[in-house]
């Protein structure tokens, strides 16, 4: 507790600094601020934002990391890591998280590419409205999609209701929402627009004359998609895909809302360790692993996107 007080003090003094320095500039003649600015080194101006950032963001992060090295028995050791890495629940959560994220990303890329191409290149009435709706969709909370899917495929949802009404059976055939496939479906549904957004932007830059010239040269639509559209969409695909991959790795709401008991991802594991089992060191270890994967993927994405010239 005492340790939290230390950063607070510099934080407060730091935020006050701009007030103090802007104060005299309003009352003194115009020359004064220039002279003052010359006396104060540039880096001083960077201190307040850096201090605020450190306080509200980096410090809690550091606490999480610190906690992950502090087993309940006291002291500092890597024992929590050993324990967590050895546990079956962590390994299966890691596997589940990675394959769900990779699967959702691949699904989003394929579905997003096809949908974006239809919206961009096949003129149909309402196409513009659909493109607009995709922007709105990005602002929806992720659990909303899961809730909507529950209404359709849930045990008492639309699809099962129609089935039981028609056949007189007591249960409908759709029972996949609480399985990993339900999570996969929900994640693909929710994250596909995140791939489509950069793709639509890229397609709007693409010169339609290129497509026309390609077809006049004898290329069928499939060849045009493969050799003209796809190469030019690669940076957008890389950008959208890596964004979705990171977001899927960290997705919490969708997994929680499907109520899939068997589907434990890393964020779910953090939640259950911290809130349900009060095992903070283990929760923090999982969190650190999650952060490491996210940061690693992000760096990879930056490297890739620089390579392809995005």
């Amino acid at each position: 507790m005492a340790s939290t007080a230390q950063p607070v003090a510099p934080g407060i003094t730091a935020t006050k600094k701009p007030h103090r320095s802007t104060g005299p500039s309003g009352t003194t003649p115009p020359r004064a601020p220039a002279r003052e600015a010359r006396r104060i080194p540039r880096f001083v101006w960077a201190l307040p934002p850096v201090a605020v950032l450190a306080l509200v963001f980096l410090y809690p992060l550091a606490l999480v990391v610190q906690q992950s090295f502090s087993p309940d028995e006291g002291g500092t050791s890597i024992a929590p890591y050993g324990d967590v890495f050895a546990s079956e629940s962590f390994r299966s959560a890691l596997t589940t998280t990675v394959w769900l994220a990779v699967g959702s990303t691949v699904g989003c890329l394929v579905l997003g590419f096809v949908l974006a191409m239809v919206i961009a290149f096949v003129p149909f009435p309402g196409g513009r409205a659909v493109a607009k709706f995709i922007d709105v969709f990005l602002s929806f909370p992720s659990f909303l999609i899961t809730l909507a899917l529950l209404f359709i495929y849930g045990n008492v949802g639309l699809a099962n209701g129609v089935w039981t009404d028609l056949t007189g059976a007591s249960k409908g055939p759709f029972d996949f929402l609480t399985t990993p496939w339900g999570v996969l479906l929900a994640e693909i549904t929710y994250f596909t627009p995140f791939v489509m957004r950069p793709l639509l932007a890229a397609f709007s830059q693409l010169d339609s004359a290129q497509l026309e010239v390609a077809s006049s040269l004898g290329a069928r639509p499939a060849r045009i998609v493969r050799q003209v559209i796809l190469p030019e969409a690669l940076p957008a695909l890389a950008a959208g895909g890596s964004l979705v991959l990171v977001m899927c790795l960290n997705e919490f709401g969708i997994v929680l809302f499907t109520g899939a008991k068997g589907v434990t991802t890393l964020p779910m594991l953090v939640y259950s360790k911290a809130i349900l089992e009060s095992d903070y060191p283990a929760a923090c270890v999982v969190a650190v692993v999650n952060i490491a994967i996210s940061v690693g993927l992000y760096s990879l994405y930056r490297m890739v996107s620089r390579r392809v010239g995005a």
Binding site: D207, L217, G218, A219
Partner: protein, 366 residues
């Protein structure tokens, strides 16, 4: 050469081709034949329907009525990739992620030309436009003129019977343009069997390159003929003013032989088939108008003087009608408001019967 290229044939024929977007007719019953090996320029202002006509040949717009033929084959319902046409557009449209050689090879691969023959054909096409040294470059590493050469090589590599050029020089600056114009003329001499449809709004390009010019305006063919024919003997007012920017004066054919009445003055002009007493339009090119007294003298007041280096352009008001005269650079620049006399030779004038303003293009091809 290869079996897959038998679809290549030369010559284009429009048979009553109409194109409409919504309720808006953008091409109205076009009848036009481009002979094998002929360069036909489609000349007109923007919105005249010339680009639409080209796109109908390429297969990018579907005619509302009428047929399009390549050679003797009806291609009206054929998708673009089955037409075997070479196409070059204003903004080059090179594939940015492919090297120059891959751009040129694209059509050959798409048309399933035997793999071992492709490098040779790419080299041949690049040689033809003088770009062989740039085969390994990317389009972004080339200038506009070089990119357009590559685009032409790409279109020629598939050895098309028909080459469509859609404002190919409009994105280039003036100096490059005249160089490329000469280049295109040379290419056509080297490929005498290829029919070229050349869409442009620039009369110099059309006059320089074309065997025949089809003048388009308001979705319709206005006139069609050889460049000399259209320039010296325009059949419509639109052709006269769009090609060569002619003076157009309203006249009435007088009773005397080869005499017309212009604002109370009698002028000697060959009246041809225009009947006596009829109203008509007198057409004289600005550079054929002379300063000073002479045959067909006209007095007027100078309203504007433009110095254009080697020439002076005078705008002279003659009883409310504005006459343009392009004169070899004058030693003494005339002042605004000066009274001057202009004249022109009878054989330099063309008389257009009234009603020739529009839509006279119906049967002019051939």
């Amino acid at each position: 050469m290869t079996g897959g290229e038998r679809s290549v044939r030369s010559g284009i024929r429009f048979d009553q081709v109409s194109v409409a977007y919504g309720g808006n007719t953008v091409l109205d019953r076009l009848d036009l034949t481009v002979e094998p090996g002929e360069v036909m320029a489609l000349l007109g202002p923007s919105g005249s329907g010339k680009t639409t006509a080209l796109r109908a040949v390429a297969g990018f717009v579907q005619p509302a009525s009428g047929r399009v033929y390549l050679g003797d084959r009806d291609v009206t319902g054929l998708p673009p990739h089955k037409r075997g046409i070479g196409m070059v557009v204003q903004q080059y449209a090179l594939f940015p992620h492919m090297r120059v050689q891959d751009n040129v090879a694209f059509g050959l691969k798409a048309r399933k030309v035997a793999k071992d023959g492709i490098p040779e054909r790419v080299a041949e096409a690049l040689d033809m436009v003088g770009m062989a040294a740039y085969a390994k470059r990317y389009p972004r590493e080339l200038s506009g003129g070089q990119q357009q050469r590559v685009a032409i090589a790409r279109a020629l590599a598939i050895r098309p019977g028909v080459l469509l050029l859609d404002e190919p020089l409009s994105a280039l600056d003036a100096q490059l343009r005249s160089g490329m114009l000469a280049e295109l003329a040379r290419l056509h001499r080297e490929l005498p069997d290829v029919s070229i449809l050349y869409v442009t709004h620039d009369q110099v390009e059309a006059l320089t390159l074309a065997d025949r010019i089809a003048v388009m305006d308001k979705a319709r063919l206005q006139d069609c003929g050889t460049p000399q024919d259209l320039y010296r003997r325009p059949r419509t007012e639109f052709t006269a003013s769009f090609v060569g920017n002619a003076n157009l004066l309203p006249v009435t054919v007088a009773d005397g032989a080869d005499t017309v009445d212009f604002a109370g003055r009698a002028l000697d002009v060959p009246t041809g088939e225009v009947s006596r007493g009829a109203t008509a339009t007198l057409c004289v090119r600005p550079h054929l108008v002379g300063l000073g007294d002479g045959p067909n003298a006209l007095n007027g007041t100078i309203t504007e003087v433009q110095w254009r280096g080697s020439t002076h352009r005078l705008y002279v008001d003659i009883d409310g009608h504005r006459v343009k005269a392009d004169l070899k650079e004058l030693r003494e620049t005339p002042a605004l408001g000066d009274r001057v006399t202009l004249h022109f030779a009878a054989e330099d004038a063309v008389l257009l019967p009234a009603g020739a303003a529009e839509g006279a293009g119906g049967g002019t091809d051939g």
